[in-house]
Symmetry: C2
Subunit: 322 residues, 2 copies
């Protein structure tokens, strides 16, 4: 079983947390809820304090530039949320919105402008890009010092190598590990299984766990016995996008579960006609695991918090601040 | 059990191969010997043919530059072997030998010269460097197009990322996978365990297996139950440098074993007073595994063959040849 130090728990618990514990207890849940919303809130407060200190001490405000191409509604929502999050901690936000039929060169020009702009410390290109553009060309154009998404292969290479340090760690996997840290979950020497091997979550999450001395296995669509392997894990990070794929029988009693999946499933009782569930079958898992992130309210809020954290780090690095 | 297609076996078997099978049978061995020496010989013949074709077609001879700093005897031997291997396939070799007390700048100058030299297509800095030099600074100075060792973080990052292609794959792990390919060992969907997580072998070997759709686990010094995890593997690649660490009880019947370790152990009966053994206890493993590399004569000869292969690729790429 995992030991949780109360001292590592983030601040006072919000009221919905207590409600969720009560609801869970009614179904014999034993798992502690890893409250990403509350942790993210605390991290944003820490960042706001640092941003303020930076402004006072050297008169510099960190800046994040977001490039949005086209009119996808979901992308527009993500960009709006990032902008709001920046404002909430005092980070300046810059936005370029290009039409769907822009050329690759127009996007590259926007990136180049932000690369050269000293008031911009982080640059984020909202994905997916329109299909006529080559994602790789565009992401590679972001200067490594402002690659707050951490997707540049040079950052990934440094993440993989012992003795090297990436300038930035991709936000979602960084958020997963931060949750483990803030809840006092020991990683060193533990068996960890990462389900999914995407460039933006699964693969960097595995590299991060490996850096912290876990014994890591990566389970993916070609794995023949995912249930058997997952059941050996003390820590599970799942990022596949399959609703309720990981059943109770996949989980070792006492395991800690970080569920990155955010999958809409039909729900006639919901006003929107759907609700969001994770990759993990929560109602089964919460009876077996020792701790688990809910969906929503688990990893989701952490991703934006880590983006703000990376932007702050970029600005500090630009001015050699600790 | 693994199926081996005879069609995939390299050329006619040399006489010592048959001898070694006979000797093994006397101890109830069931494992096929994965004959790296023979495979490496065949690869070198293939490379020699390509080098010759390239010279005929466009008048270009691939060139490998090696930079040696200091007077370590083992390093001098490695450099001499690489030079001889180049000659044997018709690749030009260039060498700079700098004294032990050279400055970092002198090494960087040598690299810079080779970076700019169009007759040099691959650059290799023999490691280890003297302790007053920062390895990272020196390796990063090799232009990515000539990084035939594949150690540049940009290459490692591309190796880790789906949909990206590294310019070069590090020679020893590339040799391990090449042995599996040439012996017709299926990798996709198999459980693979890599023992050791070094930047030059274990980590890139895990990334390569992952790229080929194996389900990969990495076992290292902090792993609590290495025997239990290793016993689940269909394919084992070991690169830790501990003589005979992996015993028969660690091995699943029918597993395929690639032993990267080359460890000297005292042996009074040997004229040199020592003999070389791998990380795997060969005499136990050969009774349980379906195939295994011997030490010496397994992975060792493959490393230099892959260096030649990377140098040929670099030269072809420089002239846009297929």
């Amino acid at each position: 079983m995992w030991g949780f130090s109360n001292a590592a728990l983030p601040g006072p618990l919000p009221s919905y947390f207590i409600l969720s514990i009560t609801a869970a207890m009614a179904t014999d849940a034993s798992a502690k809820v890893i409250d990403g919303k509350s942790v993210a809130k605390q991290i944003r407060e820490e960042i706001a304090a640092e941003v303020s200190r930076m402004k006072d001490e050297i008169g510099v405000v960190p800046g994040l530039a977001v490039i949005l191409v086209g009119d996808r509604k979901d992308s527009a929502t993500y960009v709006r949320n990032k902008k709001k999050a920046c404002e909430s901690v005092g980070i300046n936000s810059f936005e370029v919105h290009l039409p769907e039929d822009s050329s690759e060169q127009e996007v590259l020009n926007a990136i180049s402008g932000f690369n050269d702009d000293p008031s911009v410390h982080g640059i984020l290109v909202q994905l997916p890009l329109p299909s006529h553009m080559k994602e790789q060309n565009i992401l590679n154009a972001v200067t490594i010092e402002k690659d707050v998404d951490g997707f540049h292969p040079l950052n990934i290479g440094r993440l993989a190598m012992r003795g090297r340090e990436p300038l930035f760690v991709p936000c979602t996997p960084k958020g997963c590990i931060e949750l483990l840290h803030r809840y006092g979950v020991e990683i060193k020497g533990k068996r960890a299984v990462v389900i999914g091997r995407s460039n933006i979550v699964g693969m960097p999450a595995a590299l991060l766990l490996q850096r912290e001395d876990a014994t890591v296995s990566i389970v993916h669509s070609r794995t023949k016995n995912p249930e058997e392997i997952t059941r050996q894990a003390d820590i599970i990070i799942s990022a596949v996008g399959q609703p309720n794929m990981v059943r109770g029988s996949w989980i070792k009693p006492g395991a800690v579960i970080i569920d990155v999946g955010i999958n809409p499933v039909e729900d006639a009782t919901s006003p929107r006609g759907y609700r969001l569930v994770g990759d993990i079958c929560y109602e089964e898992a919460c009876k077996i695991a020792s701790a688990i992130t809910p969906v929503p309210g688990g990893v989701g809020p952490m991703t934006i918090a880590m983006l703000l954290s990376n932007t702050l780090s970029a600005a500090k690095r630009a001015y050699n601040l600790q």
